[in-house]
Symmetry: C2
Subunit: 153 residues, 2 copies
């Protein structure tokens, strides 16, 4: 549905939202990062109907975010695992989580912390310049048309 809606937007944000912008989709990806992989686990975590969950998982498999892996025969049962493409949602998801932590968390603090496994330090999402390697603050970011822009705006 969203695909249709955003179709005339030549924009990678719109395209990303076609894939993960539907209700519950990013929370399914979150749950997969937290170790869930089975239909019933996702259902318990999100408390949503089987139909909606079937639809969302199906669309995410179709889009290449999840893969469905059979772990049992007679009857067939499946795990849903993030693909490499799905795992690359970690940065946008944690960036969104930190924004939520900063602006929407309760006074007690963040419900979850993302840490560096090697040193235990807390992580934050930042924009890094590929040329000078500096972290770049928002006021130093410029957005320009890229090679895929048509027509240029």
């Amino acid at each position: 549905m969203l695909a249709r809606t955003y179709d005339d937007q030549v924009c990678s944000i719109a395209r990303a939202l076609e894939v993960v912008g539907e209700r519950w989709s990013l929370l399914l990806v979150r749950d997969a990062f937290l170790g869930l992989s089975r239909f019933e686990q996702f259902q318990t975590s999100l408390g949503i109907g089987r139909n909606v969950l079937t639809n969302r998982l199906g669309r995410l498999v179709e889009a290449g975010v999840f893969e469905r892996i059979r772990y049992q025969q007679h009857p067939d049962r499946f795990d849903y695992r993030l693909t490499p493409m799905g795992r690359q949602l970690l940065v946008p998801i944690l960036a969104l989580m930190h924004w939520g932590d900063d602006h929407l968390a309760e006074p007690a603090g963040p419900p979850r912390l993302a840490q560096h496994a090697e040193c235990g330090g807390e992580l934050h999402a930042a924009l890094i310049c590929r040329q000078c390697q500096s972290p770049v603050p928002a006021h130093q970011v410029t957005v320009v048309p890229g090679p895929g822009q048509h027509p240029p705006t």
Copy 2:
């Protein structure tokens, strides 16, 4: 609506999606980063109905993402500008854009490039450790319960 739906999720990702997860919301924030500020500009950019746009802008103002600033009287006319809270969506939005660039762009390449204004280098979103200052790859990320987790999971 989403607020109600995700209410029992003690999670900053879910809370963030309550605010910016509704259809068109993140594209409105994107358009504001690209310099749009007026109702008619957003409407032209997104091609959506006035009712939906009024609703989305109203909710984003209420949530503190946009502020409404009067620029004309008789009749009153308003600009919609990102608040500091709204501007802090730049990192999650660019992280999502880069994910879209990597996996969903046409062969010609990304429609837009985010650059470092000072040196012209391309930006990418990364997870940085606050303790050792290293960029941290996905397999070195651990998520643990934070102080706002109740009950701990």
